[in-house]
C-alpha cells in the first residue's frame, strides 16, 4: 500500500499538548482511545511520529496502537486538506451515481488510486457513510456546506468556488 508520504510538520506546542494529554491518561486501562482522539484533534491526523509518542508514552507496543487506529474509521493516517470533501456512499446516494461523482472529484483534483489529499494541501476527499439526508441524494459536503441532488457534471463548478476563494 504505497501511499504518498507527507512530511510531518508537528510543532512544539502540539507536542506539549500531546504530552499533557498522555500524562492525564497514563495508567488508565482504557487510555488509548481518548488519547488517540485527543491526538487526532491536536494534529488533525495520526502519523507515525504521533503514534510513536502515544505508544511509548502509554507504554504499549506501536503495533497495537496502529491496529486500533486502522480498525476505527474515525482515525486518519493522512493529513486532511484545508477543505474537506466528503462524498456520501450510502445506498441511496450510491445508486444515484455517487461513485461517478467521487471519481470526478478525484480527477478534478488530480488524485490517483489511494491518494486522498492534493499536493498543495488544499483539498482532501473521503467517502462517508449515509449521513441521513437521503432526500438530497446524491450529496457531497465540503467543510460545512452541503450540496444535494448533484450530478458528476456539477463537480467542477463546485470545486472552482473554493479554488477561487484562495
Amino acid at each position: 500500500m504505497s501511499k504518498k508520504v507527507f512530511p510531518f510538520k508537528g510543532t512544539k506546542e502540539q507536542e506539549e499538548q500531546l504530552n499533557v494529554l498522555i500524562k492525564e491518561h497514563v495508567g488508565d486501562s482504557g487510555a488509548l482511545m481518548p488519547v488517540l482522539q485527543g491526538a487526532q484533534n491536536i494534529y488533525g491526523y495520526l502519523p507515525l511520529e504521533v503514534q510513536r509518542v502515544v505508544a511509548r508514552g502509554l507504554n504499549m507496543p506501536l503495533s497495537e496502537v496502529y491496529g486500533v487506529v486502522t480498525f476505527y474509521a474515525q482515525f486518519s493516517l493522512t493529513p486532511k486538506g484545508k477543505h474537506k470533501i466528503a462524498v456520501c456512499l450510502g445506498t441511496a446516494c450510491y445508486v444515484k451515481g455517487a461513485g461517478d461523482i467521487f471519481n470526478r472529484i478525484k480527477k478534478n483534483l488530480g488524485l490517483d488510486g489511494n491518494e486522498d489529499l492534493t499536493e498543495d494541501g488544499l483539498f482532501s476527499v473521503d467517502g462517508c457513510r449515509c449521513i441521513g439526508a437521503c432526500g438530497l441524494a446524491p450529496l457531497i459536503t465540503v467543510d460545512e456546506d452541503v450540496y444535494g441532488k448533484i450530478t458528476a457534471d456539477d463537480v467542477d463548478g463546485i470545486l472552482e468556488k473554493y479554488k477561487k476563494a484562495e
Partner: protein, 581 residues
C-alpha cells in the same frame, strides 16, 4: 476443586469447573478440530472451526473458549456441526492462496489436514476476491506471505505474550483485516528480534524461515571450498521428528552419518565449542565477581536475547557477557587454529552451522568481533528444518542410517557442553566449572536441580567456595523483561543470570521442527527434547568443560589463558544499542 458432570456424545465425563469443552472432550480422547486456539497462548474464539452443539443452546458454541457446566449435553459431531465446520473451511479457503504444491508446509499444514478430514471436494466454491497480497522478505531470517495467512493471530499472541516484542498485529477491520507491522513496515525495519517463535506456532505456510540451503549446496559443489559443518546441542534432540521418529529421540549418530553422506569435509559438534564458552564465561564471571566488575553477568549465547537487549534494554549491555556464542566460537577457532593446523587459507573454509534458531542467521552476519579481519566466523546458518530438507533432497534414508561420530578435533564434548541446549544448561555448566575453580575441590554433585525444568523463571542461591552466589535462569523474552524490570526496581538481585530467548531454551527454538497446536497442548515438547540432553550428560564420564582434553590442548597450544590475549581476541565480541522503530 469443584467438579462438573456432563455428557459429550452421550458419554459421561467429569472435569474440574472452568474446563473448556475442548479440553473435556480431549479427556475422552475426542479430538475437536482447532485453528486459532493455542493452549496457554491464544484463546480468542475467532475461527469457529471448533464449534459444537449444546443441547438447549441456540447457536453452536466455540468449544475452545466455552466452559463446561453441570448437566450439559454436547455433541461434537452432529450433522449441523459437521456442516458448519465444512462451510467455515470453505470460507477460509475462499481467500486463501491454495497453492499447496509450492508451499513449505504442505504435508504438515493444519489447514490442509482439516480439508482432508472434512472432505473438501471443491476448494473454490466461495472463491472470490483475494486480499491484496503482502509478501515481506525484508527480514534476514524469515518471510511473511499473507496470501497464505488465515488470520488466526497465533503469531501475534506468541510475539506479544511469550516474547514481549509485539511487532506484529492485526491491522484494519472486516474483510481487509490482515496481519502486519505498524504502518505496513517490513519485519526487517521494526524491532523483530528474529526468534522465529511465530513460525513455530503458525498453523499454515504463511510464515517460514528464509531457506538458505541453496547456499550450502553451492558451497558443497564448489571444489575450491573446504566445507565444514557444526550442529548445535539441540538439533539431535529434535531432528528425528522430521522423519517420523518420536519426540525426544536422540539422533546424534544418525545425524553425523547424514552430514557425512551429504558431503561435508568435517563434521563438528557445537557442544565442544560450548566447553570453550564455559572456560571463557566462568573466568569472566569469577573476574567480575571477585574484582567488582559489572554484575549481574548475563549470558549472551542466545542471539534473540542479545538483539532484544540491544533494542529494548540497552542499559543492560554492560551486563552482557562479552563471550561469543558457541556457534561463533567454533567458527572463530575453525578459521584460525584449525586453518593453521591444516594449512588452509581461512578464506577457503566455508563454515556451515545447523541451528535450532532463526536468530542465528543474524548472528553469523554480525560484522563486529570476527576472528579474522574481513571474513566471517561462520558463513551460513540453517535451521533444523532446512537441514531436514537437505537430508531429504540428498536422498538419504535417515531412519535406517548407522550411528556415526563427529570428527576430531572438535568432536568430543563434555556433558556440560551438551546441556547448553536446554534452559538452565549454560548456568549449570558454568557453575560446575566456576565452583571447582573457586573452591579448588571437585564437586560432589554435578546436577543443579533447582535450575532445571521448564519454568520460565528459576532462581537459586549456591555456595561457591566461601561465597553465596545468587543466580537466575530465565527463558522467553517476556520473562526476561519481567526480571530486568524487577532488577531496575530493586525487587530482584542476582550475581549471574542465564537468559534464553525461547521458552525451554534452544530445544524449543524457532528453527526446530514444528509441532501442531494439539501436540503442543498434549505433550511437553521442550521437556522431552531436553531429557535427551540430560540423559546424554548423565552417562558421560567427561562432564566438566575444563576437564575436556581438546579444551586443554587448544588452550595450551594456541589460546593461552581464558579471557586474556589470544583467547580474548578471538572468542569475545561486543554489542551496540539499536534504535527502535
Amino acid at each position: 476443586m469443584s467438579m462438573v458432570n456432563l455428557k459429550i456424545n452421550n458419554m459421561d465425563v467429569q472435569v474440574p469447573a472452568g474446563t473448556t469443552i475442548l479440553e473435556a472432550a480431549s479427556s475422552l480422547n475426542l479430538k475437536i478440530p482447532t485453528l486459532c486456539y493455542l493452549k496457554d497462548i491464544n484463546a480468542i474464539g475467532a475461527c469457529r472451526i471448533c464449534v459444537v452443539e449444546i443441547k438447549g443452546v441456540k447457536n453452536l458454541a466455540a468449544s475452545c473458549v466455552y466452559p463446561v457446566a453441570e448437566g450439559m449435553e454436547i455433541s461434537i459431531n452432529s450433522e449441523r456441526v459437521l456442516k458448519s465446520r465444512k462451510t467455515n473451511l470453505e470460507l477460509v479457503l475462499s481467500t486463501h492462496n491454495r497453492r499447496c504444491l509450492s508451499c513449505v508446509r504442505s504435508g504438515e499444514c493444519e489447514l490442509q489436514e482439516l480439508c482432508k478430514d472434512y472432505g473438501i471436494e471443491n476448494e473454490t466454491v466461495f472463491a472470490g476476491h483475494n486480499f491484496e497480497e503482502i509478501y515481506d522478505e525484508s527480514a534476514k531470517h524469515m518471510v511473511r506471505d499473507n496470501s497464505r495467512c488465515i488470520v488466526c493471530r497465533r503469531c501475534v499472541a506468541v510475539c506479544s505474550k511469550n516474547q514481549a516484542v509485539s511487532v506484529i498485529g492485526a491491522n484494519e477491520r472486516g474483510f481487509k483485516t490482515h496481519i502486519g507491522c505498524a504502518f505496513g513496515a517490513g519485519l526487517g525495519e521494526v524491532e523483530c528480534i528474529g526468534c522465529g517463535q511465530c513460525i513455530n506456532v503458525c498453523p499454515v505456510g504463511a510464515i517460514y524461515e528464509k531457506d538458505e540451503t541453496d547456499k550450502v549446496w553451492a558451497a558443497l559443489h564448489n571444489p575450491t571450498k573446504h566445507v565444514v559443518v557444526q550442529t548445535a546441542p539441540s538439533i539431535r534432540t529434535a531432528l528425528g521428528e522430521e522423519f517420523g521418529m518420536p519426540i525426544g529421540t536422540n539422533v546424534q549418530g544418525k545425524m553425523a552419518a547424514a552430514l557425512r553422506r551429504i558431503g561435508f569435509k568435517h563434521i563438528f559438534d557445537t557442544d565442544v565449542a560450548a566447553d570453550f564458552t564455559i572456560m571463557e564465561e566462568a573466568s569472566e564471571f569469577i573476574e567480575r565477581f571477585t574484582a567488582g566488575g559489572t554484575l549481574p553477568l548475563i549470558t549472551s549465547c542466545s542471539p534473540g536475547w542479545v538483539e532484544y537487549c540491544e533494542r529494548f534494554y540497552p542499559e543492560f549491555i554492560p551486563n552482557l557477557s562479552s563471550c561469543k556464542s558457541p556457534q561463533q566460537m567454533l567458527g572463530a577457532l575453525i578459521k584460525t587454529y584449525y586453518a593453521k593446523q591444516k594449512g588452509i587459507d581461512p578464506k577457503d573454509i566455508y563454515m556451515v552451522t545447523v541451528m535450532p534458531c532463526t536468530a542465528k542467521k543474524y548472528e553469523v552476519a554480525r560484522t563486529e568481533g570476527n576472528a579474522v579481519e574481513g571474513i566471517f566466523d561462520c558463513d551460513v546458518s540453517i535451521t533444523t528444518r532446512e537441514f531436514a530438507r537437505m537430508i531429504k533432497r540428498a536422498g538419504i534414508d535417515f531412519v535406517n542410517l548407522p550411528e556415526e561420530s563427529f570428527d576430531n578435533p572438535f568432536g568430543e564434548s563434555s556433558g556440560a557442553g551438551d546441556i547448553f541446549g536446554r534452559s538452565g544448561g549454560v548456568m549449570e555448566a558454568a557453575l560446575r566449572t566456576a565452583s571447582e575453580w573457586i573452591s579448588g575441590k571437585p564437586l560432589e554433585k554435578l546436577e543443579f536441580e533447582e535450575i532445571r525444568g521448564i519454568k520460565g523463571i528459576k532462581e537459586a542461591t549456591y555456595k561457591v567456595g566461601d561465597h553465596e552466589v545468587k543466580v537466575a535462569v530465565v527463558a522467553g523474552l517476556a520473562n526476561a523483561s519481567q526480571v530486568l524490570e524487577d532488577i531496575k526496581a530493586g525487587k530482584r538481585d542476582y550475581h549471574f543470570i542465564e537468559i534464553m530467548g525461547c521458552l525451554g531454551g534452544c530445544v524449543n527454538g524457532g528453527g526446530q521442527p514444528i509441532q501442531t497446536a494439539r501436540t503442543r497442548a498434549m505433550v511437553d515438547v521442550p521437556g522431552l527434547r531436553a531429557s535427551v540432553l540430560n540423559n546424554q550428560d548423565k552417562v558421560k564420564k567427561l562432564r566438566l568443560s575444563h576437564e575436556s582434553p581438546i579444551v586443554k590442548q587448544v588452550y595450551a597450544d594456541y589460546l593461552g589463558e581464558p579471557g586474556k590475549g589470544k583467547a580474548h581476541d578471538i572468542l569475545h565480541t561486543h554489542y551496540t544499542k539499536k534504535e527502535r522503530f
